[in-house]
Amino acid sequence: MAIRTKHDPQSYTFAGFGSEKYPNLMLRGAGDLNNWTLDVYEQKHEGYVAMKQALKMEPVAVTEEVKTSGIRGRGGAGFPAGLKWSFMPKDTPERKITRYLVINGDEGEPGTFKDRAILEYNPHQLIEGCIIASYAMQANTCYVYIRGEFLWLIEKLELAIEQARAKGYLGKNILGSGFDLDIIVHRGAGAYICGEETALLNSLEGRRGEPRVKPPFPAAKGAFGQPTTINNVETIAAVPPIIRMGGAEYAKLGTTKNSGTRIFCISGHVKRPGLYELPLGLPLDFILNELAGGSSTGKKIKAVIPGGASAPVFSEAEFSTPMDFDSVRNAGSMAGSGGVIVLDEDTCMVQACLRLIRFYAHESCGQCTPCREGCNWMEMILHRIEHGEGTLEDLDVLASLTPRIAGRTLCALGDAACGPMESMLKKFRHEFEHHVTHKTCYVKGHELLAKVGAH
């Protein structure tokens, strides 16, 4: 197995982490490469206690507990997990239904690297979550779809699954409960769009990874045409602590309607980039300055992308926003996947924007006209501007393109591309204009020449 032996340098902790104020529910033992085994999980981290508890409950009661916890999906959309589970159709006397749970471990959102840590250090917490969630929904097969580049983590998860099976936690009649479950790990093939839940299902079925028309929603017709729930790795890994401490107790963490802890992935121009598990609702500037150590370059922080690359960018005015789903939304962005990308004053927003749009234009599945053509068009214009060949009209076309794309595509990738585009152009328009009119970079002052290749 290709288990990594080298410690990765990033931070998983900070002063006070693990205290009552900053409970450590998701990153126990993170950083220690020997932490992943079943023995460690059971001996040190209350492993499989919640599962044993849950298997004695009625399945609906488990779902109720998760509803009470108030946990919202950590994959991007922030949809309440308990509510999602309750959409799964139940068996009737006439019809027994095959249901699936699918775990989204594609983790493709730029600036997001939390699921990877869970898989690296606490795979059993995910497995335990899968068992509890599957039991609650009475699914007998659970697929875990993992980003293809995480090859070593796939192997690790498969070993962990073997350990759990050997202990009777997976397979037929788990611990005499009468409940059967198998977990099947599926490796992705390197497309961002396969993180979108219905594209993921297509990919899982062996089809081209492109999003499906909704409705029908996965709860009605998902994997292989059967009712399916799709949850993010972090969402499911939070289930064992929820069951252990009780939904009501979990709900006390964070703020109302934004309960619990989540793992923030902080990257960019801060002194201590890394993963920070925090209760929801702490102000962004507090997190950046008090926990992540503030700017790493000595320059002022100019902009922050608060929820993965798809989230509209914050400028200084929004830095005090509490980091929970609703507050970030009210401030004009989204909490998304928890990826916080910090950009200092010396960052050229035109360049940053081009980088992001190039990503979306490349990752568009190509199905919808607005996304396929629009992202490509934006990229071409930004490329021109970045190379000193843009015009002021180009800025108008850029501004006219986002309303033609956002909200008008089959899946949310179109919106995702427009998030950074629209906000950067609006909040940092002077930088774009400067590129066009002066043919120099506003931030760095150098000349923009196609033949020099700029930046």
């Binding site: 497309a191 190509g366 006209t369 607005p370 053509e373 008008r408 595509t409």
Partner: protein
Amino acid sequence: MVRLLLNGTPVDAPEGATLLQALRAHGLNVPTLCHDARMQPASACRLCEVEVDGQERPLCACATPVAEGMSVHTHGEALEGYRKGLIEMLARRYPGEIPALDPDHPFHRLLLHYQVPATGPWVPSKLDESHPYLRLDMNRCVDCYRCVHICEEVQGHSIWKVVGRGAEAHVEPGDAGRLLDSPCVSCGACADTCPTGAIQDWARYRHGTPITWTRSVCSYCGTGCELEIGSTSDRLVDIRPAQDAPVNRGHLCVKGRFGLGFNDAEDRVTSPMVRRGGEWEAVTWDEALDEAAALLLRVKEAHGPTAIGVLGSSRGTNEEAFLTQKLARVGLGTGNVDCCARVCHAPSAAGLGLALGTGAATNSFADIDLAALVMVVGANPTENHPIVGLRIKHRALKGMPLIVIDPRRTELAELATVHLRPRPGTNIPLFQALAHVIVNEGLYDHPFVAARTEGFEAYLASLQEWAPERAAATCGVDADDIRKAARLYATTGPAYMCNGLGVTEQVQGSDGILALVHLALLTGNLGKPGSGVNPLRGQNNVQGCAQMGCEPKRLTGYQPYDQVIAKHEALWGPLPPPGLDLLEMLDAAGEGRLRAMLVFGYDLYLTTANAHRTAAALAQLEGMVVVDLFMTETAKAFGTVFLPAASTFEKEGTFMNGERRVQRVRAAIAPRGQSRSDLDILLELAKRLGVGDQFQYHSPEDVWNEVRKLWTAVAGVAYHRLEHPGGLQWPCPDELHPGTSILHAKTFPVGDRAQFRPIAFHPSAEVVDEAFPFLLNTGRSLQHFNAGTMTVRTENTKLTRDDVLELNPADAAALGVLDDEEVTVESHHGAFQAHAHLTDRVRPGEPFGIFHSAKAFVNRAMGPGRDPKTHTPEFKRTAVRIRKMVQA
């Protein structure tokens, strides 16, 4: 019904409809690019977005279901501006010069409507001109992916694939590079749906948009697909599927869609001819008709009316077939009248007629969608009845259990839950063993058997000799598979059964059908939706031709003499007694008792088994009048008068498909050269035979109205009622009757109870030995049709060869034969040559000869075996040996 507001106007729409359907039903034209009613909505081009009150974002009309109280706005300024914006996005990369060249394509009309110029480049590397029917210019592709979806959802193939992502995403025909090299079956659906002409018919590219579209019925197989025939003033351009046809639902196969080239083939004969001094000579119509009448009258005079034989054409209309038998019986006084049903489904008609009372399919193709299981027996519908085959395939792909009984591993066999592969000629033991299991395991439908059948006890006793183990040994099938299939068929109801020539073209053909009917009776699979016994009829109008009375032992409506002779004689005067069928005619010709023949559109020499005997018999005739489009093998060798006939594209009338559906055939163009319709020719001959007063018809409708008088089952099928899609299915006894899609719901025409009959197995005389070690089976391929008369005159020849012998690679290795090498196949009766195609679709020792080619002439090797009841020849089992051709 739900009520909604469309631009402020209240309208009703059916529940479950999409907004787009509702908009279109009320004349509101919202532009679409990725939508096609034949497919699931893709919701991808976003042109159809409309505003719905209370919704934050616009919704795609194509994918949004209607809901009570919805208020929809379709053409506001913002929406129209948005649509224009989308067209602009596409126009950036669209080649500038194309729209003006070809303004009719939907996307080009949109560019014009929104006044958006296309500004992209055109590069030659995106052109693929290799396919004979489809021209690909991918410069024009706007990535709507309709081709991808229609190929998968409608045709059940997945030829087109999306490759790449983002702006680089584009479609490609699989991994093949060129469409011609892909497994594409050339159904043309992708070209049909493509909104830009990126994929388009060559015909349309070369000849432009047709001016007139004429709705008619396909002239190939008995499925009866409805077509739109596109023509300019005097040229057939293109054929498209009729979108609202209940049979084919907007789809066609390669033959119906593209097989029109024969109509203008160079060797089509368009002037009357007479053979003088051994050579054909063009003459006037009067001369030719006089000569034909003189021959028939002379023979009648000298040898009596029974010395004349008449063959009707299964390619002609019902009206023509009806007049053919009337001319034989009334004009010539002979009962010797038959048609090509003799060599295909005569046993189906006979078996079904005997057991149930109606010699036609009990159910309809629509029942395939209602069935819980389908059983395909001796048929290869994905090739020979592709539209029916597709319906079965789609169901099987969605998980419906499927049983296939066929020696070959056909496309459906690959999808089958159970595939039974009997040795050719061993159907009876296999069918009886299936019944044996059903009865002995008590799986039969007790109430049905008790209420609606008789003769069960004797039948039961006759089954006992065929325990699965014994049948397994005879048939070369696993006994457990027999049990599995029997249990599945008996317990998964309703079960739809269809059969092909693998059952009928055997020396036990009629008994085979009886045995199948028994299985349906045992399991109660008759008279209800999704069930039945359904022969898949071969030619477009073979059902009609026999049904119209081109049948020596039956009169109009396939009705027995004793039941309807009085009715006929009241109208027509005294009739001759029942006469000889085709095979008996050939016997009589060989013995000098039959001296002249009148043959409509039927290459009997090429298509009858045991060609050497056929030739010896026909050579003795004094003369033969051939009515056809082409100098067929029969005409070449034996014709003395040739009358050039109009094709189905050139005449009016009706066809009857394999599910008893009568549909209108309409002329799209005038007959070529001097050709005339069979109907005209029949009227002219009648005059010259002195019975002109009995043949006073002014139109095909007149003729049909006489049929309605003689056969009550179609009394309600008036021409004016055939104007709507799908025509009418008989029985339809009066003009208010809606037609019948399922027969035998409560009783059978034979009475309240259908009879079980004991069946004995009489094995074939064709047995393998050291000298003739292979059992040859024969049949058809997708791209070609029957005698090949039509398809070998089309570009279908560029798609596949027509003279093929499928051979198992193990056999080929033993013989030292390579793929595509020519071999000689020899039986006790004769030999033919064909190109070997190595495939494990056939088992070792059981090669399969494709019979479309006159060059190969497979029937030279077929023997004299016949079904004793119907005389249908044994095409499906001949002992042969195979030799490499000597290398030149």
